[in-house]
């Protein structure tokens, strides 16, 4: 067994290391087992430290500092891993290796880099766990409703009680153009221009109204406090004064408790206000204030006698901004890995891991010269393409087109390796860049498709096109998956053959 001393390395890891060295050199040389072991130790220590460090969920999150600190450790870990990784290389030693070994090698690199990148996720995860264990969503929702109710009770005399009204004329927007705007119903039809229509409408509906297209109308109708229909085209939107002094950061998405809107508060407290004994209410409010007010959150206490206004008065009396900030902080901590957040969190992890592991894979199968020239070529091509597009007023389609052209060019030179008699540097660069571009090809084609549709819509070639952001998002997600599958299939088939052929060719 190897006598090399490793810090904090138990016998079983040494045995695994020894076994892999003597039986599976490619797995051994990737050092993933050591990254996994030391990574788990480091993550455990990091998680423990994150747990014991005093951190109030009501405070502003300090996780960004943790992430910067842990990122530096991840970089150090990456460098150390590379130092060990680059010592041994089965491929460059012309050992017994197969196409499936190329894929296994990349997967091992991906796993190792993935572990190192994952370090940065440990503090946010711990923070989320701590916030979730300290406060439940229902608890927050109940307390938030209670505090708004108490403020309404305690400040009834200081609050506005009248609703504001907004009269609107609804116009048809299905044609998509103002030139063909028509007032819905038979009140009046305007078929000329929007300006004429406004003049006409102004003369008919006074004193206050505004034009609203059907899209906005439908949207506003869903969220309005009250709606009065005067006729088929004219509506009056009534808006309740705001009684949400402590605003909901989004608890309604996660809590079983219904969040009280200003309207609910109006109907429950303001509309039929009954005066209650103040001291128990004040006491109750104080308990809740104590629970949520955090000393270092800013209070925005602008209230002075000379500068009296209602908002500042409520703020100053009940620390609403401070409490709102606290609840926002708790909410953000609790839901930093909610599905909508998780999606991009995973993407950040995946793309960083993918790119680094791909670069390591290239470096391990290429010469130093070809690898660094590949990076240089990519940078220069990007600059050159950017300049050409800038001077020729190119759009996104031109950019996608140039990408496709480069992809075809590098694919052509990569396949040319099979005809080469010597290890040609151009082929080496092409294989590297081809492998970088391969994953992004389906994403590019999908983006091109949507770009084309959007352009056709803008130029009225395809006015029926309706841009569905969710479908595009879904299709881009499929493109990412397909890109990954293509890349994984290409490693043992194309890339293995390219590198095997190219690297073994005579150097001169």
């Amino acid at each position: 067994m190897s006598t090399q001393k490793r810090l904090f390395c138990p016998a079983f890891i040494n045995r695994i290391d020894d076994y892999l060295l003597k039986n599976a050199p490619e797995i051994w040389s990737a050092r993933t087992h050591l990254v996994l072991y030391y990574g788990l130790i480091f993550m455990s220590v990091l998680a423990f430290l994150s747990f014991i460090v005093p951190d109030d969920p009501r405070s502003n999150s300090g996780v960004a500092f943790w992430i910067v600190f842990v990122s530096l450790i991840s970089i150090i870990g990456l460098v150390l891993w590379l130092m060990f990784l680059l010592r041994f290389n089965v491929f460059k030693r012309y050992g017994l290796t197969s196409a499936s070994n190329r894929l296994r090698t990349w997967l091992l690199y991906f796993t190792s880099v993935g572990i190192l990148v994952f370090f940065c996720y440990v503090p946010p995860i711990v923070e989320t766990i701590r916030a979730n264990s300290a406060y439940s969503d229902n608890e927050l929702a109940v307390d938030l409703n209670k505090m708004n109710s108490l403020i309404c009770q305690l400040s009834y005399d200081s609050l506005p009680h009248d609703w504001s009204n907004d009269t609107v004329i609804v116009v048809n927007s299905t044609e998509g153009r103002y030139e063909n705007v028509e007032v819905i119903g038979d009140v009046e039809e305007v078929t000329t221009s929007a300006a004429v229509m406004i003049d006409s409408a102004v003369s008919n509906y006074k004193p206050a109204f505004r034009l609203m297209d059907t899209t906005e109308f439908t949207s506003k109708k869903l969220g309005c406090d009250s709606l009065l229909k005067l006729n088929d085209s004219v509506y009056v939107f009534s808006e309740c004064p705001s009684y949400e002094f402590i605003t909901d950061p989004g608890l309604s998405n996660y809590s079983d408790v219904k969040m009280l809107s200003s309207r609910d508060l109006y109907y429950q407290i303001i509309q039929h206000y009954t005066k209650k004994e103040v001291s128990p209410l004040v006491q109750e409010m104080e308990v809740l204030t104590k629970k949520y007010k955090y000393y270092s959150n800013e209070d925005y206490n602008y209230y002075t006698e000379t500068e009296y206004n209602n908002g500042n008065y409520i703020q100053a009396r009940f620390f609403t901004d401070n409490i709102t900030r606290s609840i926002e902080n708790i909410y953000e901590r609790k839901h930093s890995f909610a599905p909508n957040q998780l999606e991009w969190q995973i993407r950040v992890w995946f793309y960083i891991t993918f790119c680094i592991s791909l670069l390591v894979f290239n470096f391990r199968h290429s010469t130093k010269k070809a690898f660094f020239l590949s990076i240089l070529t990519s940078v220069l091509l990007s600059i050159l393409t950017g300049l050409i597009l800038a001077f020729s007023s190119g759009n996104e389609s031109s950019m996608f087109g140039s990408y496709l052209f480069y992809f075809a060019l590098f694919a052509f030179f990569s396949f040319g390796t099979f005809q080469n008699k010597t290890r040609n540097i151009v082929s080496g660069i092409s294989i590297n860049i081809f492998s970088w571009m391969l994953y992004f090809l389906p994403l590019l084609l999908t983006s091109m498709y949507y770009e084309g549709q959007q352009s056709a819509y803008n130029e009225l070639v395809n006015p029926d096109y309706s841009f569905d952001y969710e479908t595009m998002k879904l299709h881009l997600f499929y493109a990412e998956i397909i890109g990954l599958i293509i890349f994984i299939i290409a490693i043992p088939t194309l890339l293995h053959r390219f590198y095997r052929r190219w690297y073994a060719l005579p150097e001169e």
């Binding site: 003597k22 599976a24 030693r93 012309y94 050992g95 095997r500 052929r501």
Partner: protein, 383 residues
């Protein structure tokens, strides 16, 4: 088998224990019996432990007894039969020109068989390394071709797995030397217990056990060469190409490595073809089956072929006598005399080497060194 056992016994009887240990290890490897090999490795370790112990001038008596008991055990073994030599590589009119240089390697043909040791000699800058790199697949040929008889439809990667090349300047290793050896063995398919056994064998065989747990920085350049040979041998190549392997070795180590290489080439366990370049003409000639002399990119001389065409005798001598005294001594004989500042070279087409020497001695010319280089490539270095 019997012959080899007797040879080892003879070495032990004459206290050539180091040689005996090495031959014993080779013999046990060739039997293919793991338990015997383990015993031989253990025996070798004991011997090296005695060697390290400066207070012991000779090995203990029981060491020899143990050796004989062990050899008697080997007596019953049949061992694997040595296979008839097979052609490994056929280089046909290989030539190479460098762009931007006047030098070119002129067409050279050579066949290398299993168990062959081919020496390539010549002055610096005459094409030895170019020829070796062409054979190793590192340089593209301008003309001619190389076929690897044991490989069917090989790609360049297969060829480079098949052919091991040790350059004069050995690339740096990282990590423990032992780990590197285990790694080399396992990447060639020697795994598990076999891997451990073969690494232990190689360490003992090349007397490297004491250095196995060191790193590259901690060993001398001579040991680096030895470790590189051990590493490459563990990869079980069919053809081993060494460029100036003796450059960093002391005189004893040179002799040891050369004879080891010869025995390894002729191993029953894994016979291979070896081609090496060197400036140590006499040492290489002693162990090589074929020696090529490369001069200005051309194969000037090849033992076994062109040497048959040689006429006359060439003698190399070193003496304190002056040129005039030598001329006077050899006046009656038709002898061409050259002096390169160190040695005199005597060329004669009518007289034998013995006659020339007798004449010189009879004329009271005191010789401090002489060598018959008639069949040696050395003769071409003087012309």
């Amino acid at each position: 088998m019997q012959h080899r056992i007797e040879e080892i016994k003879s070495y032990i009887n004459h206290n050539d224990n180091s040689l005996a240990v090495r031959r014993m290890l080779d013999l046990c490897l060739d039997t293919g019996d793991e338990s015997l090999l383990i015993d031989a490795i253990q025996w070798s370790r004991e011997f090296h432990a005695f060697q390290k112990n400066v207070s012991m001038e000779t090995v203990p008596a029981d060491f020899q007894e143990k050796a004989f008991v062990f050899l008697n055990k080997l007596n019953g073994q049949h061992g694997n039969a040595r296979q008839a030599p097979q052609i490994l590589v056929r280089a046909n009119k290989v030539s190479k020109r460098y762009s931007g240089s006047n030098f070119s390697l002129h067409p050279i043909s050579i066949d290398i068989k299993t168990s062959d040791v081919v020496g390539v000699v010549g002055e610096n800058g005459n094409g030895k390394t170019t020829l070796l790199r062409c054979l190793a697949g590192q340089l593209a040929l301008d003309e001619g071709g190389i076929t690897f008889e044991k490989l069917s439809n090989p790609d360049q990667y297969d060829i480079k797995h098949h052919v091991a090349f040790i350059p004069q300047r050995i690339p740096r290793w990282y990590g423990l030397l032992r780990d590197n050896l285990h790694f080399s063995a396992s990447l060639s398919g020697i795994t598990g217990k076999q891997n451990e056994l073969m690494v232990d064998f190689m360490l003992e065989r090349l007397n490297l056990s004491d250095y196995a747990n060191l790193t590259w920085d901690k060993i001398s350049s001579g040991y680096r060469t030895r470790f590189e040979i051990a590493r490459v041998l563990l990869q079980k190549p069919s053809i081993l190409i060494l460029d100036e392997p003796l450059a960093n070795l002391d005189i004893n180590a040179q002799q040891t490595i050369l004879t080891d290489l010869r025995h390894m080439a002729k191993s029953v366990y894994h016979p291979m073809g070896i081609i090496l370049s060197s400036q140590q003409l006499h040492e290489v000639e002693k162990i090589a089956d074929t020696v090529l002399l490369i001069k200005k990119g051309q194969c000037l001389f090849r033992t076994g072929e062109t040497e048959q065409e040689i006429e006359g005798v060439v003698l190399e001598i070193e003496t304190l006598a002056s040129r005039e005294e030598i001329n006077a001594a050899l006046l009656s004989m038709q002898v061409e005399i050259h002096f390169n500042g160190g040695f005199y070279t005597l060329l004669s087409s009518n007289h034998s080497a013995e006659e020339l020497l007798k004449t010189l001695l009879n004329s009271s010319v005191k010789l401090s060194y002489f060598r018959d280089i008639t069949h040696s490539t050395k003769r071409y270095f003087n012309s």
